[in-house]
C-alpha cells in the first residue's frame, strides 16, 4: 500500500504542453504513472507524445477519461485558477508544483477545496512518489527504492538528499510527499502523518521541516498522542537570521516564532527523534525500525 497515489491513480497534467509540464509528463510516464490526459486551453484535440489526449478544460478531461487526480505546472498567475478548475471537475487530489502563488489567493482556495472535499498538495512543492509504482510531480525516480519509510517534507532537494542517503544505506521508502514551502499549503504535516499511521506498509516516518510557522510543533504533538509509528524529525535553518525569507515564502522566523531551535526542542519534548544533520537521519531510522 501507499498513501495518496498508487496504481489506481489516473492523472491529468494541467499545462501539459508547456516547457515544465511536457518535460515532467514524460518523466512521470516513464516511471509508470498512468497519465490519462493533459489540459491546455486552446490545444484541445491534440495528442501529447502521440498517446495522451489533450483537452481544453479539466471538466472535459475528467468526463472523457475518468481521471481522479491532477498535477499543475502552469505559471503562478494562473495556478490558483487551475486549482479551482480541478476541484470543480471533481478530481480527489490536486498537486500544485507551481511556485509563487500569492498567499491571499491561497486563503480563498483553501475553503473552496474543503467544501468540495478536494485534497491539495502544495503549492510550491516537488509532489509525491511511491517507489516502483507511481510518481506525481518532479521528484527524481532514480533515487528512490521500495521500502518501509514514509517521508514528508517542506523542501525539494533536501528531500532528495535524505532519500538518497536512505537508499544508499539500503533503506527504502513507502511514499515520499513534498508538501511545499509556502506559508499556506493544502496538506500539512499532520495530514500526512495521519495517512502514514494508517498505512500498513509504513513502519517509520521521516519529517523534514524548516523554520517558520508552527506546523512542526503541531505535528510533534500529534505524533506523540496519535501515532504508534515512530517519527524522526529534522529542521533546516538552524543558522537562518530572523525576519528574512529563506527562499521558501514560508521559511521566515517572525519575531521569536518559528526558529529551528524551538521546533527541535518541541520534537524532543514529544518523543520525536531529532536528527541534528541530514546524515543523522539514517542511523536514527535504523534505531527505530
Amino acid at each position: 500500500m501507499s498513501i495518496l497515489i498508487g496504481d489506481d491513480t489516473r492523472l491529468v497534467v494541467q499545462g501539459i504542453t508547456g516547457r515544465d509540464g511536457s518535460f515532467h509528463a514524460r518523466r512521470m510516464r516513464e516511471y509508470g504513472t498512468n497519465v490519462v490526459a493533459g489540459v491546455t486551453p486552446g490545444k484541445g484535440g491534440q495528442l501529447f507524445d502521440d498517446e495522451v489526449p489533450v483537452f481544453n478544460t479539466m471538466a472535459q478531461a475528467v468526463e472523457e477519461t475518468g481521471a481522479n487526480a491532477s498535477v499543475i505546472y502552469v505559471p503562478a498567475a494562473f495556478a490558483s485558477g487551475a486549482i479551482y478548475e480541478a476541484a470543480d471537475a471533481g478530481v480527489d487530489l490536486v498537486v500544485c508544483i507551481t511556485e509563487g502563488l500569492p498567499v491571499g489567493d491561497m486563503t480563498r482556495v483553501m475553503p473552496y477545496l474543503e467544501e468540495r472535499g478536494t485534497r491539495l498538495i502544495g503549492p510550491n512543492c516537488p509532489g509525491l512518489i511511491v517507489p516502483g509504482s507511481c510518481k506525481v510531480g518532479i521528484l527524481p525516480g532514480s533515487i528512490v527504492e521500495e521500502g518501509p519509510v514514509g517521508i514528508v517534507s517542506r523542501s525539494g532537494t533536501l528531500t532528495y538528499e535524505v532519500i538518497h542517503q536512505l537508499t544508499g544505506a539500503g533503506i527504502g521508502q513507502s511514499t515520499c510527499v513534498g508538501i511545499g514551502g509556502d506559508p499556506i499549503i493544502g496538506t500539512d504535516f499532520v495530514d500526512a502523518l495521519e495517512m502514514f499511521e494508517a498505512d500498513d506498509r509504513t513502519e517509520a516516518v521521516v519529517l523534514i521541516g524548516e523554520i517558520g510557522g508552527t506546523d512542526e510543533q503541531v505535528a510533534a504533538r500529534y505524533a506523540e498522542e496519535q501515532m504508534e509509528t515512530p517519527v524522526v524529525g529534522f529542521v533546516a535553518g538552524q543558522t537562518a537570521p530572523p525576519g528574512r525569507t529563506m527562499g521558501h515564502a514560508g521559511a521566515i522566523i517572525s519575531g521569536s516564532e518559528g526558529t529551528a531551535e524551538e521546533k527541535m526542542r518541541v520534537f524532543e519534548e514529544h518523543g520525536v527523534s531529532v536528527a541534528e544533520r541530514p546524515a543523522d537521519i539514517v542511523p536514527a531510522i535504523q534505531t527505530v525500525l
Binding site: 498567475a77 486563503t107 527524481p140 532514480s142 532537494t157 533536501l158 538528499e161 538518497h164 524548516e210 506546523d215
Partner: protein, 376 residues
C-alpha cells in the same frame, strides 16, 4: 516586500484612511522648509525598514523650522539596527489623548488573515502580547466575505466606549481591510491609532508588508521598492533570479533548493565554520545563473572558501559544471572552491570538471568539512 511608513501612508490615504499629510526628504534644509510650509510643530521621522525607530532616536519633535532642520540633520545618516537612514518624513504633530492599535496579519495555522486590535497602542504589539495578552482582541477573517460590518463594530467597541468614536473606528477598520486586501499585503498595522483631544482618530504610524508573489499584479506597488535600502549583492541576486541573503561568515555557499541551502549553512556551522550567505540557484539552473551566483559570492570580501552543493533533480549537474568552468575562466578567482554534486547527469559533470582541473565530491558532509577547512 517591506515598504516605508510614508509609502504605507500613501496607500492609506488612497483608501481614505486618516493618515496625516507628510513629505519625505533626504535633505535637512528641505526638512526645515517643509516644516515652515506646515507651520507649527512637526515630527521628523526616520524612514528605515525596521521597528524601534523612536527608541533609537530616529523620531524627533520639532517646534519650529530650525528645530526641524536640526532634527533631520541628526537623523539623516543615523544607523538604526544596522540600517542607514537616508530619508526622513516630516509631518505635522498631532496631539494625543490616547493610543490604540489596529492591525491585520496572516495566521498561517488557520490559513486566513486575522484582525487584531488593542486599546494598548504605541508600543510593539509583541510586547503587549507578552505583558498584557488580555488587552489584545482578535477576529479571524473569512477571506470569502472579508471583514463583516458587525465584526468591524465589535472590534471598534473593544477600543472605544463612546458610540461616535466606535462608529468612526469601525469605518477605519473596514478601510484598513480594503487597503490590506487591495494591496495583497501580508501585514498591515496602525500603531498608534491616535485619539486626539478633539475626539478625532488619526493613523499616526503605518506599517505594511506586501506579498512579493502578488507584485506582478500591482506594478504601482512594485515601484515602491527601495532599491537603495537593499544590500547591493541582494539586489543583483534578485535581478538575476537568485535567492540570496548575506550573512556574516566566510564560507560562501552555492546550493540548489532553499531547504538544502539552509541545511548546508547549518552543516557549515556544525563543522565549526560560518556561512557567508544563503544562496539558492533555483530549479532549472542554466550555466548563466551559476556565473551570476559566483560573481555575487565573490563580491563579498569576507568569503575565503566557496562551497557548491548541488543535488541534481531538475537541475542538471552538467549545467552547473559548465557554469563553474565558465565563471572561473571569466572571473579572477583566488578563493578555493569545493564542489559537491550528485544526481542528474553527474557523470557528465564530473568529466567536465576533471577536464578543467577541478575535482568534485559526492558526499555532502565531506564536502562541507573540506570547505570549512579551506576557509582556515
Amino acid at each position: 516586500m517591506n515598504i516605508h511608513e510614508y509609502q504605507a501612508k500613501q496607500i492609506f490615504r488612497d483608501h481614505d484612511l486618516p493618515a496625516p499629510p507628510g513629505r519625505v526628504t533626504r535633505d535637512a534644509d528641505e526638512a526645515s522648509e517643509i516644516a515652515a510650509d506646515y507651520g507649527g510643530r512637526v515630527v521628523v521621522k526616520a524612514q528605515v525598514h525596521t521597528g524601534g525607530r523612536g527608541k533609537a532616536g530616529g523620531v524627533k519633535l520639532a517646534d519650529d523650522p530650525e528645530e526641524a532642520r536640526e532634527a533631520a540633520d541628526a537623523i539623516l545618516g543615523m544607523d538604526i539596527k544596522g540600517l542607514t537612514v537616508r530619508k526622513v518624513l516630516v509631518t505635522p504633530a498631532v496631539d494625543i489623548e490616547s493610543e490604540a492599535y489596529a492591525g491585520i496579519v496572516m495566521d498561517r495555522s488557520r490559513d486566513r488573515p486575522v484582525f487584531m486590535v488593542s486599546p494598548e497602542g504605541g508600543m510593539d504589539i509583541e510586547t503587549v502580547a507578552e505583558e498584557k495578552p488580555e488587552a489584545i482582541f482578535r477576529q479571524p477573517i473569512d477571506p470569502a466575505y472579508g471583514l463583516l460590518p458587525h465584526q468591524a463594530t465589535t472590534l471598534a467597541y473593544r477600543l472605544y466606549d463612546e458610540p461616535k468614536l466606535a462608529k468612526e473606528a469601525a469605518g477605519i477598520l473596514g478601510k484598513l481591510w480594503k487597503a490590506y486586501r487591495g494591496s495583497d499585503a501580508t501585514m498591515v498595522e496602525i500603531n498608534p491609532l491616535v485619539r486626539t483631544p478633539d475626539d478625532e482618530l488619526r493613523a499616526i504610524d503605518a506599517k505594511m508588508n506586501l506579498d512579493d508573489n502578488a507584485l506582478f499584479r500591482h506594478p504601482d506597488l512594485e515601484e515602491m521598492r527601495d532599491v537603495e535600502a537593499e544590500d547591493d549583492s541582494e539586489r543583483k541576486a534578485r535581478e538575476a533570479g537568485l535567492s540570496y541573503i548575506k550573512l556574516d561568515g566566510d564560507v560562501g555557499c552555492c546550493v540548489n533548493g532553499a531547504g538544502l541551502a539552509m541545511a548546508t549553512m547549518d552543516l557549515v556551522k556544525y563543522y565549526g565554520g560560518d556561512p557567508a550567505n544563503f544562496l539558492d540557484i533555483g530549479g532549472s539552473s542554466s550555466p548563466d545563473k551559476v556565473v551570476s551566483a559566483l560573481e555575487i559570492i565573490t563580491d563579498d570580501p569576507s568569503v575565503s572558501s566557496i562551497l557548491f552543493n548541488i543535488f541534481g533533480g531538475i537541475t542538471r549537474c552538467d549545467d552547473v559544471a559548465n557554469g563553474i568552468v565558465e565563471a572561473t575562466s571569466r572571473l579572477d578567482l583566488d578563493v578555493p572552491i569545493t564542489i559537491r554534486l550528485t544526481g542528474t547527469n553527474e557523470e557528465e559533470a564530473l568529466e567536465i570538471l576533471r577536464d578543467n582541473g577541478f575535482e568534485a565530491m559526492s558526499d555532502m558532509d565531506e564536502a562541507v568539512q573540506r570547505a570549512v577547512e579551506a576557509a582556515g
